[in-house]
C-alpha cells in the first residue's frame, strides 16, 4: 500500500492514537511507543491550577504529530475559539474538528462542523473533521478544503465496532481525501475491518486506554492494522455465494 498521506505529510503507520483515559502517564507513553503511531490527539482544557494534568509530560511533541481536538465544543463558534487557542498553545495548525452538542451519544453536528471547517481552512488550519458516516457531508467538507475526513464507526468510546459499514464504503469509494475511521473501534478486529474496507487509517483511544493492559492492547491494534494492510497487498480472494473446493473434485477412489 502507498503510505498514508494527509495534507503534505506522509506516515508509515495507519494507526492514530488518542491520549485520553490512560491509567498513568507511563502507561500512555509506553502504549504510544509500542503502537507505532505517528499521530496522536489531545484535548484542550482550562489549566487546573491545583492539579496540572500529567498527560502532557508523557507525550513527546517532537516524536509525534500532536493534533489537538476541539472536544467540548457545542457549536461552530466554540470550535473555532478552541482551535485558535490550540494553535496558540501548540504552534501547529493541525486540528481535529469535533462539534458534539449531544451529551449522550456525542454525535457530531454536521452543520456546525461544516461552518467551522470553512472558517478554519480560510484561517490556514489543516482540518480533520470528526463526522457521522455521511458521504454527502464528506464531499462538502472536501469542497471546503479539509485535509481528511474522520467518519465514525459507532459512538465515541462505545467499543461497538463498525456499525456504519454501508456508508463508510460509499465514503471510501467517493472520497478524494484520506478517510480515517474514528470512534467506537473496540477490538483490533474492528480496526482491521476498517482498513480492509479501504479506510486510509483508524483512530483508537478508549479501546487501548481503558483496557486492563493498555500496552499489550496497543500492540494488538498495531498488529491488526498491519495484518489488514498486508492482506490488501496480497490480493484477497473475492467473496462468492457458492463453495469453491480447496481440493480437486476429480481422482476419487472407486466405490
Amino acid at each position: 500500500m502507498k503510505p498514508l498521506e494527509i495534507a503534505d505529510r506522509k506516515f508509515k503507520s495507519r494507526l492514530l492514537v488518542g491520549t485520553g483515559k490512560y491509567s498513568s502517564p507511563d502507561s500512555l507513553a509506553e502504549s504510544l511507543a509500542v503502537s507505532g503511531t505517528e499521530i496522536v490527539t489531545v484535548a484542550l482544557r482550562r489549566v487546573d491550577l491545583n492539579a496540572p494534568d500529567p498527560t502532557l509530560q508523557a507525550i513527546d511533541f517532537d516524536k509525534y504529530l500532536v493534533v489537538p481536538n476541539t472536544s467540548g465544543a457545542r457549536d461552530c463558534d466554540e470550535a473555532v475559539r478552541l482551535s485558535r487557542l490550540a494553535r496558540s498553545a501548540s504552534g501547529l495548525t493541525w486540528i481535529k474538528l469535533e462539534v458534539t452538542p449531544d451529551p449522550v451519544y456525542l454525535l457530531p453536528d454536521p452543520y456546525e462542523t461544516l461552518k467551522a471547517a470553512e472558517i478554519l481552512v480560510k484561517d490556514g488550519f489543516t482540518v480533520l473533521p470528526y463526522i457521522h458516516a455521511d458521504p454527502v457531508l464528506c464531499k462538502r467538507l472536501e469542497d471546503a478544503g479539509c485535509a481528511a475526513v474522520m467518519p465514525l464507526a459507532s459512538p465515541i468510546g462505545s467499543a461497538r465496532g463498525i456499525r456504519t459499514e454501508e456508508f463508510l464504503k460509499i465514503i471510501i469509494e467517493q472520497s478524494n481525501l484520506p478517510v480515517v475511521v474514528d470512534a467506537g473501534l473496540g477490538m483490533p478486529s474492528h480496526a482491521a475491518a476498517a482498513i480492509e474496507l479501504g479506510a486510509d487509517a483508524v483512530l483508537v483511544n478508549t479501546a487501548i486506554a481503558a483496557a486492563d493492559n493498555s500496552v499489550e492492547m496497543a500492540v494488538a491494534f498495531k498488529l491488526a492494522v498491519e495484518a489488514a494492510e498486508k492482506a490488501l497487498d496480497s490480493g484477497p480472494v473475492k467473496e462468492s455465494v457458492k463453495a469453491e473446493a480447496s481440493s480437486p473434485l476429480t481422482g476419487f477412489l472407486d466405490a
Binding site: 488518542g18 491520549t19 485520553g20 483515559k21 490512560y22 500512555l28 490527539t41 489531545v42 484535548a43 484542550l44 482544557r45 482550562r46 489549566v47 491550577l49 496540572p52 494534568d53 498527560t55 502532557l56 507525550i59 511533541f61 500532536v66 489537538p68 481536538n69 472536544s71 475559539r81 485558535r84 487557542l85 490550540a86 496558540s88 498553545a89 501548540s90 465515541i156 468510546g157 470512534a183 483512530l203 483511544n205 478508549t206 486506554a209
Partner: protein
C-alpha cells in the same frame, strides 16, 4: 484588583501587571504549551510580558490534556 481566571473571580495584588506576572504567581512554569486569552483575545506567548492585566479582566489559561 479583581480578576476572573478560568471562571473563578479573585483578588490580586496590584504588582500583577502583566500576563507573565500572573502566570508566575500561579506557578505555571511550562508556558510553552499553554494558551492565554484576555477578554476573549488570544495572547501569543511572545507577548505575555508586554500584555497588561487590569481590574475586571477575564482571563482563560488552557493547556493540553489527554483526548481522542
Amino acid at each position: 484588583m479583581i480578576l476572573k481566571v478560568n471562571g473563578k473571580t479573585g483578588k490580586f495584588k496590584n504588582n500583577i501587571k502583566t500576563v507573565a506576572d500572573l502566570l508566575s504567581l500561579l506557578k505555571i512554569k511550562n508556558t510553552e504549551k499553554i494558551a492565554v486569552e484576555v477578554n476573549r483575545e488570544i495572547i501569543i506567548p511572545s507577548r505575555f510580558r508586554q500584555t497588561p492585566v487590569q481590574d475586571k479582566d477575564n482571563i482563560e489559561i488552557v493547556s493540553f490534556v489527554g483526548g481522542g
